[in-house]
Every structure is written in structure tokens, then in C-alpha cells.
């Protein structure tokens, strides 16, 4: 490298060179990268345990070169609790989708958050079950067509989408809860900042943190990748507003990292 050359981009240490199985235009790849960069940032690669969910990201262990444990569908926060209580010195986070976290795992996420469990949660909300083939998720939006809501989600029979960030913010214990998206570079930078803040809270022993990431699923939104990206701003953000929903440190007058 000559003196005039400057390295501006490199593979992160945490990300493997394995090609992902995710569909073209899927948001998981971006979120994986952000998680990997955040782990690198804090030098956590060798003291982290990630709990992988059941869902599209069940194979995340192939892409993140860190210790990982599987969990039964929805139980990732309970498995993470077990790891953290057994080894409080480890950095423990779950990576979960909307079906996993907001339907079958509702009890586990609510109680892990309510205990102020010192873990971090990366919650990828793409408003649909991906791995099982595009069924209605707890976060599917009203009118959104899926294989199990072919006429579109109906308020009377299926209820409204669950707003996880808002719901968990009603609890006393969580330290930091934010909703971000990855639909454009500026949003990706904000998403990374939120993940860094969430991870910092665990490092500081401040308790539970969660970042909800609105993420595109072009395959089961049945639209081209570019259109799916713009659908986040056009549709999804209107249902799931972005922002920080809970920040105990800010509330305590402390500056957020």
C-alpha cells in the first residue's frame, strides 16, 4: 500500500466469506453486516454467544464466525437468559424474526425484557413469515396479502400488527429500545448506531436492549427488490414509526453512546 492509498472498506472479522442463502434483496444480509461491524467495534468476537432463531436466519451461524446456540422457535430469549445467567461475563444476543419473536415467542421476549435481562436483541421485522413460505406474521400490515391472508390482513378477524418496540417500551426494565430500518444508506448508518447503543448497554451492565429493524422481503411481498426497499418508507414506516422508544440513560440525563 502506498502512502496515497487508504483502506476504506474491508470484510469485517466476524463475517465469514460464505455466500448467504438469503433471497436477492433480502435485508438480513445488511443486518448481519451491521451486527458483525458492531461486534468488531467492541472487540467482542471472542466473548460472544449468539442465539439463533427458527426462521430465515436459522443458518446465521454460517455467516457469523462466533459461538452460537440454536433455540426452539420463539425461545431464543430464554436460551439467551440461560447462557447469560450461566456466564454473565459473555456477551449474549439473540437475532430473531417477527414470527419467532412476536408470535410464538411473545412470552419469552416480554419476560426477558421485563426482567431487564442483560442481553441484546436484534429483531428483524419484515412483516411476513419467510422461511415457511410467506404466511401472515404478527407484524403483517392491514391489507397485506400473504398465503394465509389471501384477501389481505383483516382488522376484524386478524387484528392489527403488533408494534413490538412500543409494546416492550411500556415495561419498566428495558434500557434501550429503538426501531430503525435499512432501506437507504443514511438509514443503515442510523441502524448501526442503534445496534452499537444496544450493545453498549449490555457491556455497561445496563440490562435489556432491543433494536427492531424494518427489513424488506421482496420474495413474499411479491415485488422487485428496489420496490420492496421503497415500500418500507411508503408503507411500513407509516405503521411502524422509526425512533427511540425507550432510553433509560437519556431519561437519567446520561448521554447515549
Amino acid at each position: 500500500m502506498t502512502q496515497t492509498e487508504k483502506k476504506v472498506f474491508a470484510r469485517t472479522e466476524v463475517l465469514t466469506s460464505q455466500q448467504t442463502h438469503y433471497c436477492p434483496g433480502c435485508g438480513h444480509g445488511i443486518v448481519h453486516r451491521l451486527v458483525a461491524e458492531a461486534l468488531d467495534h467492541f472487540g467482542l468476537r471472542e466473548k460472544t454467544v449468539c442465539v439463533a432463531p427458527v426462521g430465515c436466519s436459522v443458518l446465521a451461524y454460517k455467516y457469523l464466525a462466533i459461538d452460537m446456540s440454536e433455540a426452539a422457535h420463539g425461545r431464543a430469549p430464554a436460551v439467551a437468559t440461560g447462557v447469560k445467567r450461566a456466564r454473565p461475563d459473555l456477551f449474549v444476543f439473540t437475532y430473531q424474526g417477527d414470527g419467532d419473536l412476536a408470535a410464538i415467542g411473545t412470552a419469552e421476549i416480554v419476560h426477558a425484557a421485563n426482567r431487564g435481562e442483560n442481553i441484546s436483541v436484534v429483531f428483524v421485522n419484515n412483516a411476513v413469515y419467510g422461511m415457511t413460505g410467506g404466511q401472515m406474521a404478527p407484524t403483517t400490515m392491514l391489507g397485506q396479502k400473504t398465503t394465509t391472508s389471501p384477501a389481505g390482513r383483516n382488522l376484524q378477524s386478524e387484528g392489527s400488527p403488533i408494534k413490538v418496540a412500543e409494546m416492550l417500551s411500556a415495561l419498566d426494565a428495558p434500557s434501550y429500545i429503538a426501531r430503525v430500518t435499512v432501506d437507504k444508506p443514511a438509514a443503515v448508518r442510523k441502524a448501526k448506531q442503534a445496534i452499537l447503543t444496544a450493545f453498549q448497554r449490555q457491556i455497561d451492565g445496563k440490562g435489556f436492549s432491543l433494536v427492531e429493524v424494518l427489513s424488506p422481503c421482496p420474495t413474499y411481498w411479491r415485488m422487485p427488490a428496489a420496490k420492496a426497499m421503497s415500500a418500507i418508507e411508503d408503507t411500513m414506516v407509516k405503521v411502524f414509526p422509526l425512533g427511540v422508544f425507550k432510553d433509560k440513560e437519556a431519561a437519567n440525563g446520561n448521554q447515549t453512546a
Binding site: 462466533i66 459461538d67 426452539a72 425461545r75 436460551v79 437468559t81 447462557v83 445467567r85 450461566a86
Partner: protein, 362 residues
């Protein structure tokens, strides 16, 4: 060596602590609440983890996490709660994680009642969750054994990387007996756990999972599990034979029912009748060879259970030379009386040729 009067549930707590339990996770349910309360009272002071979970589903998943991190982890419950744990037990089994699970059985099905029962034998021994798996199942029949088997369960779990279940019932959990506290306990060397997830420091990542998508890979994984099960069958099948050398009638019973049969058998012996007891200690692996060996002089087998007849199937599968198998079963929290067992045995031995109708409601 000190003798202390304690309940079976308290003995489980004592056994787990002496075995070096690191983490306990549980959810309240009768008749095992003394265990969760005992853990809550004692573990934090010992610097070990205690957490009351939001459900049995969560409790067993927390055990999964702690076991994955290489620690000695345990949960306890009673029948309906154990049903909820079947998901997690299947995952623990598929992932080959050591764990100890205690089922203080109560009456079922469904909510049933809180009286002692043995209706969960199939669930415990056949693998109550999905997939081809077994757990080691230990059946104590005294408060002392509640302590000793709980203690030993942690070693067995670590040695074979398998969940070990203590299958007991509300009677043994609640009753009090003098219990010897051996000090120090004989200690096996702790098993190294190089497979645990501990942060990939200076090594490649560990991924603990039961997921194996390619059929050939899952088949290979299953063959490895089965190989482990065969080894356990060879080495760990255990039973207690009581007065079986010359016994013409052999009771087969586990847990609380074995105590009743032992007492009935001893009364019949005093009358000069040749009666013995074969008590399976491991329900899986089932001690079929030990059973066969106890039947040298036997003319009849009498299986006694607090269920509609579950253990009896393992007796039937044990190649007992076509011996007639009688059955005495009680359900719903009832148990046969010693008087009834004595009368049954007496009748069998006084008129061995006559065909007797089984007294159980099968």
C-alpha cells in the same frame, strides 16, 4: 455421616447442590414446589444461578442455554409442566446437551389432580417429544434415593451428553424420611466440555444445534445418537432384586409402588410363601436382563403400577419366557394397598394352576 429428616423434594435440592448444580430454572407447580422454593432459598447464597421462569417452555430453554454454556443445569416440574417441556427436552436431546429434569408426577391426563401417580412412564421412557431419542430415566423409591439419584444424574448427564430425568411422584416428593448426608460425597472427575459455547476465544466457532438439513447429515447424526443409546443400554441398566432367588411370584414395580410390593412380599415370606421384588432403577434403559435373571424360579409376574399399565409393556417386551403377567393398577392418585397385594400374592401361590383375572382396570 449425618442423618437428617427431610422430604423427598428437599432431598432433590440437597442432591443437586452436592452435585455442583450451577443453574436452576423452574416454574411453580404442585407437588414439587418445595424444590423450586429450596433452590430459591439456597442457590443465590452459594453464588449459583436461580431464576423463576415465565413458563416451563422457558425454563427448559434456559436450561438449554446454561447447558450449552457448559454449566450444570436443572429444572423440575410435575406432569402437566413436564408435558410443556417436551419441546425443550427434544432439543436438548438432539443437541446432545447434558441436563437434569425432575418429574414429580401427579394424576392426569390434563390438569388431573395433585395426587401421586405414575401415568407419565410412557412419556418419560419413549421420548415424549418429537424424533428418535431417549433420556436416561432414574426412578427413586425413597427419600435417600431422591438425593442419591439426583446427585448421580448430573454425572450421567455429563458423561453421556444426555438429559437425565428423575421420574418420581408426589408421594415420594412430599413424604419425610431420615436421609444420610454423606460428606464428602464420592466425586467423579468433572467431565471436560470442549464443545460448549463460551465465546470463540482462540478457536473456531462452536455451533450447538439439532438442525441438520441434508438427510444424509441428519441420518449420520441420528446414528451417533443411537450409538450412544446402545452404549447406555449396555452399561447403565440398573435394577434392585429383592428375595428373587427362589421366588415363585415376582412383583415388578418402581418408585412408590416398589415400596408397597417389598412390604407385601416380606409379609408373604413370613407366611412361607416365596415372593420377591424386581425394582427397575433405570426405567430407560429398561433392565430387561436383570428382570430375566430374577425369574429363575418364577411362575408368575405381578406388575404393580399407579397407572393403567405402562411399565407392564416393558415387562412384556423383556422376553420373560411366556410367564403369565398379572397386573395391578390404580389411577387418579390412588395406590393399591399392601393388604390387597398380600391377598393377591397369597391367592396366586395357594392356587397356582387356577387362571386368575387381572385385578387392574386395563
Amino acid at each position: 455421616m449425618t442423618k437428617v429428616l427431610m422430604s423427598g423434594n428437599d432431598a432433590v435440592v440437597e442432591g443437586a447442590i452436592r452435585a455442583g448444580i450451577d443453574c436452576y430454572f423452574g416454574y411453580p407447580i404442585t407437588p414439587q414446589n418445595e424444590i423450586i422454593a429450596g433452590m430459591a432459598a439456597r442457590l443465590p447464597g452459594l453464588g449459583r444461578a436461580f431464576l423463576q421462569s415465565e413458563s416451563e417452555l422457558a425454563a427448559v430453554s434456559m436450561v438449554h442455554g446454561a447447558a450449552a454454556a457448559g454449566k450444570r443445569a436443572m429444572t423440575t416440574s410435575s406432569s402437566p409442566g413436564i408435558s410443556l417441556m417436551q419441546e425443550g427436552i427434544s432439543y436438548l436431546s438432539g443437541t446432545q446437551l447434558p441436563a437434569v429434569i425432575v418429574n414429580v408426577q401427579r394424576g392426569g391426563p390434563g390438569l388431573g389432580n395433585i395426587a401421586p401417580a405414575q401415568g407419565d412412564y410412557f412419556q418419560a421412557t419413549r421420548g415424549g417429544g418429537n424424533g428418535d431419542y431417549h433420556n436416561i430415566v432414574l426412578a427413586p423409591s425413597s427419600v435417600q434415593e431422591m438425593l442419591d439419584y439426583t446427585y448421580e444424574a448430573f454425572d450421567l448427564a455429563d458423561q453421556y451428553r444426555i438429559p437425565v430425568m428423575i421420574l418420581t411422584d408426589g408421594r415420594l416428593g412430599q413424604m419425610m424420611e431420615p436421609c444420610e448426608l454423606r460428606d464428602p460425597y464420592p466425586r467423579k472427575k468433572l467431565v471436560e466440555k470442549p464443545w460448549a459455547v463460551t465465546g470463540a476465544k482462540g478457536r473456531k466457532q462452536h455451533f450447538l444445534c439439532s438442525l441438520h438439513l441434508p438427510p444424509a447429515e441428519l441420518a449420520e447424526h441420528n446414528r451417533a445418537l443411537q450409538k450412544n443409546y446402545r452404549e447406555i443400554e449396555r452399561k447403565e441398566a440398573r435394577a434392585e432384586a429383592h428375595c428373587t432367588n427362589d421366588a415363585e411370584v415376582v412383583f415388578v414395580a418402581y418408585g412408590a409402588c416398589a415400596r408397597l410390593c417389598r412390604e407385601a412380599g416380606d409379609i408373604l415370606r413370613e407366611e412361607g410363601l416365596k415372593v420377591g421384588l424386581l425394582r427397575p432403577i433405570t426405567l430407560w434403559p429398561f433392565p430387561a436382563k436383570k428382570l430375566q435373571a430374577s425369574l429363575k424360579k418364577a411362575k408368575r409376574i405381578v406388575v404393580v403400577e399407579m397407572s393403567a399399565g405402562q411399565l407392564i409393556q416393558d415387562v412384556q417386551l423383556s422376553n420373560v419366557d411366556g410367564l403369565p403377567i398379572e397386573f395391578i393398577g390404580r389411577m387418579g392418585g390412588e395406590a393399591p394397598s399392601i393388604k390387597e397385594l398380600v391377598a393377591f400374592g397369597r391367592k396366586l401361590l395357594q392356587k397356582p394352576r387356577r387362571k386368575l383375572a387381572s385385578q387392574g382396570k386395563r
